[in-house]
């Protein structure tokens, strides 16, 4: 009797674990199959580099969405990386230990807020401020730099980048904080002993020692930003074109799915949307695997 109970429990548990593996595989295969119609018509790379999106004439290409996805995430990473490292330094090295728990809890609450709330906030609160104050100011002072001149929009790449960066800061900084805590105290103490200041210890000991961990944190944050849907859909402007400044409206893969999926007009339209989903799946798969592999290697060999 014992044996049977054990065998049943183990098999059921095993099947559950197997289900997780199968889910990932099936999602990938199914997205591929659904995008076949668009793939046969436009080709794989042909679709990705095709700069047209016209449901009326049944002509589709992924370039606008791919470019918008990459650019908005790039802006988010440029803002979020220094801030996240700063937050991590502040919490691990500077703040009094009594504040430490509270601070990290507050910052992690930022990560708990549903993404749709960020979207609404970006649309109703941030967009007017960007349009009337921040962007005109940037254009006036930095307009001579390529992509920073032009007209203010409020809704567009910059807004999406800012909202995304607020969303991924808690994520990156919690990973960076974790790897900071892996630095052996002996190393820091040795540096202090030879007269290094706190800043010098952070810059010359902690950061070099944890470089690959910081890298992993940024990569995982990027993975998040690339696939974020709701927040971006509110603030990106949903324009199928190649933006010529960072203020202009654009479109990301995720937001074009959110907007058009239920309203697809033809088989080819739906298949093209599945193709975009497949491309996003591949991109996040590669980015996330890379981040995870770095972290797995660190856990195995130390930092």
């Amino acid at each position: 009797m014992k044996r049977i109970g054990d065998r049943i429990f183990k098999s059921v548990a095993f099947l559950s674990a197997l289900l997780v593996v199968l889910l990932v595989v099936i999602i990938g295969v199914l997205l591929y199959m659904e995008s076949r119609a668009a793939m046969d018509r436009f080709g794989f790379l042909g679709f990705i580099f095709r700069d047209v999106w016209n449901p009326v004439e049944d002509e589709f290409g992924g370039l606008f969405a791919v470019v918008g996805t990459l650019l908005s995430s790039a802006i988010a990473i440029v803002i979020a990386t220094p801030v996240s490292i700063g937050v991590a330094i502040f919490i691990t090295e500077l703040s009094p230990s009594s504040l430490r728990g509270l601070l990290s809890a507050i910052i992690e609450l930022l990560a708990a807020i549903p993404s749709i709330i960020y979207g609404m906030w970006g649309l109703f609160v941030l967009a007017p401020i960007l349009r009337h104050s921040v962007e005109p100011w940037m254009i006036e002072h930095f307009g001579f730099i390529p992509f920073l001149g032009g007209k203010p929009y409020g809704i567009g790449l910059l807004n999406a980048g800012i909202v995304l960066s607020i969303m991924i800061i808690p994520y990156i900084s919690s990973i960076v904080r974790e790897v900071f805590s892996l630095v052996p105290d002996v190393m820091k103490e040795a540096a202090y002993a030879v007269g290094a200041t706190r800043w010098e210890v952070v810059r010359n000991v902690v950061i070099p020692y944890t470089r690959s961990g910081i890298m992993a944190g940024v990569i995982l944050g990027l993975g998040r930003a690339l696939g974020e849907t709701m927040a971006v859909t509110f603030v990106i402007g949903n324009a199928y074109r190649i933006p010529s400044t960072i203020y202009e409206p654009s479109i990301t893969i995720a937001s074009s799915l959110a907007n058009e999926f239920t309203e697809a007009t033809s088989t080819l339209h739906l298949s093209s949307l599945f193709f975009l989903a497949f491309v996003l799946f591949l991109i996040t798969f590669v980015v996330m695997s890379l981040g995870r592999l770095i972290i797995m290697r660190m856990q195995r060999h130390g930092v």
């Binding site: 014992k2 044996r3 109970g5 054990d6 049943i8 429990f9 183990k10 548990a13 095993f14 559950s16 674990a17 289900l19 997780v20 889910l23 990932v24 999602i27 997205l31 996240s84 490292i85 700063g86 500077l94 601070l103 507050i106 910052i107 609450l109 930022l110 708990a112 807020i113 549903p114 993404s115 749709i116 709330i117 960020y118 979207g119 609404m120 906030w121 109703f124 800061i169 808690p170 900084s173 706190r198 998040r224 696939g227 974020e228 849907t229 709701m230 509110f234 995720a254 799915l257 959110a258 999926f261 239920t262 949307l273 599945f274 996040t284 798969f285 996330m288 695997s289 995870r292 797995m296």
Partner: protein
């Protein structure tokens, strides 16, 4: 140094700013009707989102009913039967990948396997989409907290002649119960705020609907539709719904944290 203090301050500043707008605009929109009425026609004053609150609770409950057993058992398998070795490594890796698949892609997937064959959007398919997002979260925490239960505890139970599955369900689970509960609460907090996977699955509905095989409104999808609408009354209801939703999520998170603090092993 100043820069790093500033970045911490900036993050907290944004959190407070967002919360402030939510509270100010949200509370203004909330009244008794908000919880007890159905939506008013566009342009008219008043109306509530009773149907969407109900939908969110039902869909979240169904997703939990699917994801908790699967996630728990899969996590158990990893911790108790595949702690080392190749299979465990592959499952953990792919589970992390599943955790980070953009949630909108899960929506497209469930659309293809359920909505299209069934010919209609449905609350059930929304629950399946959310469950797919929830499973890896529960798997991960279960795997981690079960591993914290010391082997001595298991060995003591084996020594009394208990079979393995009894040891796991009666002894190991009991030792790690707070950790497991924390994982479940955080997983619920995560899916209750999801919008993207519901857009193509449970869709939305302006009417009171209790049939899980029919489209059903949820708070998040209502927020999306109303916030994007040109009617001020609807936008205000979207803020009210956002406020209620955020309170839900933050309370769940604090609850999870509080539980975790009183933990035994996990």
């Amino acid at each position: 140094m100043t820069l790093s203090s500033m970045s911490a301050l900036v993050s907290i500043f944004f959190l407070l700013w967002i919360l402030k707008d939510l509270v100010v605009r949200g509370i203004a929109a909330i009244n008794w009707d908000f919880f007890t009425h159905l939506p008013a026609p566009p342009g008219e004053e008043g109306g509530g989102i009773r149907h969407a609150i109900y939908g969110t609770l039902v869909i979240t409950a169904m997703a939990s009913a699917i994801a908790i057993p699967v996630g728990l058992l899969a996590g158990t398998y990893l911790s108790e039967y595949a702690r080392h070795g190749r299979f465990g490594l592959v499952v953990r890796f792919l589970s992390d990948i599943l955790l980070s698949v953009p949630s909108i892609i899960v929506g497209t997937f469930v659309y293809a396997i359920m909505v299209r064959p069934m010919g209609t959007f449905s609350a059930l398919s929304g629950a399946v989409a959310l469950a797919i997002i929830m499973i890896p979260v529960i798997l991960k925490t279960t795997d981690e907290v079960l591993r914290l239960v010391p082997d001595v505890v298991r060995e003591a139970a084996y020594a009394l002649g208990a079979p393995r599955w009894v040891v796991i369900t009666k002894v190991v689970y009991r030792g790690a119960i707070t950790g497991i509960m924390t994982g479940i609460i955080l997983a619920v907090a995560r899916i209750i705020g999801e919008t993207a996977p519901l857009l193509f699955t449970s869709f939305s509905n302006n009417f009171w609907e209790t049939n899980i095989l029919r489209p059903m409104a949820t708070m998040t999808v209502v927020i999306f539709n109303y916030a994007m609408s040109p009617y001020e009354n609807w936008q205000s209801i979207a803020w009210g719904a956002s406020f209620v939703l955020t309170v839900f999520v933050l309370v769940l998170n604090l609850l999870g944290r509080f539980l975790f603090r009183g933990r035994k092993y996990g």
